[in-house]
Symmetry: C2
Subunit: 348 residues, 2 copies
């Protein structure tokens, strides 16, 4: 079609055989320096691009992409991310891409380490990685680079590495947007932030920047607003409800509530049994339970980043890079913040 130049053309023009050309294309040696350069020159001039079909047909192997995620419990954020693997387009699957999931315990750095060695043993052609532990990830990434395995970050990323691309949400801005959704742009008097207790694992609080963005918005738009925090234990519903009761007994004037992680659904039973007119409740991520609460009106709006789509797009970008040698246009601009309300969530 468009790309008429084949490996045979190059062979003819260089006076060599296609076997030799193939050897330089795959850098598998046994080629004299002179021949190597001659071939490279012609390839450059003609803009030769290998035919993917022929290559896949002959090679047959296809490629393997490892997806490394925290293990996702039922209904959790990471389960949603996991589901993205099943959603990769038929077109990239047709390109011979297989994909394998590796999970780790998000609270145990050593589990992550263990998983990383498993990944390296599987010798994938590319890795999609949701990193939680900075130090361990740095090491893993070095191993990957050494082996020349490209990798894509999902959800969060390390700053200064040579990753191929990053699919995630800008945390600070998402907090800012969240505040805008909560207030509707008008000044409010007070707001309650509900946070979860964190045991001191080695991972930093992933919602820290989001909270910062929220606070900054409030300072700019509602400087006199009082912002309170309470902490709950995700595994203790009764304690959670108790904490809410206590807070609102002491601060009956507060109405709006926000959570910066995906667990707003933990508050739903309490919210349902304590309805307040004009209360706005804003959370993050389109977990099934969150969406259900949104539809019922218990939650006002969700800021979603669709981890499933992120994983899907990460795999696709990686596949294009590996199979087609097409680099993604930008490294970091694949970031979404979608506003969900009960009126558009059905079409999401």
């Amino acid at each position: 079609m468009e790309n008429k130049v084949t490996i045979n053309d190059i062979a003819r023009l260089t006076g060599l055989s296609k076997g030799t050309v193939d050897r330089v294309l795959h850098k598998r040696g046994e080629v004299s320096k002179k021949s190597y350069e001659k071939v490279m020159k012609v390839i450059e001039e003609l803009g030769y691009k290998p035919n993917v079909f022929a290559s896949l047909l002959a090679g047959g192997k296809g490629c393997l992409i490892a997806v490394v995620l925290p293990s996702g419990e039922k209904g959790s954020y990471w389960e949603l991310a996991e589901s993205g693997i099943a959603k990769v387009g038929a077109d990239v699957e047709a390109l011979g891409v297989r994909t394998q999931l590796f999970t780790y315990d998000q609270y145990k750095p050593e589990s992550f380490h263990q998983t990383c060695t498993e990944v390296l043993e599987a010798a994938p052609d590319g890795v999609v990685l949701a990193p939680l532990f900075k130090e361990e990830t740095s090491q893993f990434v070095l191993d990957l680079e050494e082996k020349g395995i490209p990798y894509v970050f999902v959800d969060s990323r390390l700053e200064s590495e040579h990753y191929l691309a990053y699919f995630g949400m800008p945390m600070y801005q998402s907090g800012y947007l969240c505040a805008d959704q909560l207030t509707g742009g008008f000044a409010i008097g007070s707001v309650l932030i509900v946070r979860v207790l964190r045991d001191k694992s080695r991972q930093a609080d992933p919602t820290k920047n989001r909270r910062a963005g929220f606070i900054d918005y409030m300072l700019e738009h509602s400087p006199e607003c009082s912002v309170s925090n309470i902490f709950i234990d995700p595994n203790d519903p009764d304690g959670t409800y108790q904490a809410l009761d206590n807070y609102f007994k002491a601060h009956p004037e507060t109405r709006h509530i926000v959570m910066f992680n995906s667990r707003i659904h933990l508050l739903v039973p309490w919210l349902s049994s304590h309805p307040v007119k004009g209360r706005r409740v804003v959370g993050f991520d389109n977990l099934p339970e969150n969406v259900a609460a949104l539809k019922r009106g218990t939650v006002s709006s969700l800021i979603a980043q669709r981890p499933d789509v992120q994983v899907k797009r990460a795999i696709e970008a990686l596949a294009e890079a590996i199979v087609l040698q097409k680099l993604p246009p930008q490294k970091d601009s694949f970031m979404h913040m979608d506003i969900l309300t009960r009126y558009n969530v059905d079409y999401y």
Copy 2:
């Protein structure tokens, strides 16, 4: 890899040759009824799927997808849609898919008709179609069906046809959502709808349902709200500003403004020179000018459907259907309503 069964296997099992098998696969006759059935039976049993690579390699032709859109002026909605063609993934392009754009004058049914005949002459393997004229589209679609050319609707669709898929926005619900964005969920006193004058062309008002959804929301949530309409001529800026001046002189209490098409940007100069605190302005579609106004704060929020993405996904769905024989999972559920504010538009 996974699909080990080849055309040769079938040939061997049926005692025929691969030439014959190929003939039944492509229905090009010259096969006895007995052989035909024998082959079909084995194909069924083994679940034979042709190897896309080999097929593309041997056939070479690839496929042609025609994209039929209204011609888009600079900065218009349809120009945005057009840009989606350039955004189709490298993976589907690698599948040998070429794409050709056909445009028509959105105000002239005969122009559409003319374009349709051109499309038929080009003999594409699939058609992406943004239909505006109901009658002419019905006829065109019949022609396509007769030739067995699959087609996908974009932006709007005909109700009862055998289209492969539809990518668009649910109009009624978008109006409903729009009202929710405008009011923030609270009752308001009055709102101004700005509409464009329509010459009596054969196409119906495409925003009619959207307006209906808006009105219904207002009736339910702000029953006492007064809703006014004014009409402007898109080609007459001064007249537009004059109309706005007149209206607001007579109704100084009205603050919020909404438009149901993509032309909210027409009001921007007037809005900028007549700032009102607490005024909410809501429009549709992420045209560059609209987005710019959103960033400056002149427009409060936009409901966007990303026509470019719709076209892109339509092409991809069609390509998968043609090349890989994979039907899209659902016909109609590819509909988006994205809420854009100045705080998330940068990451859109």
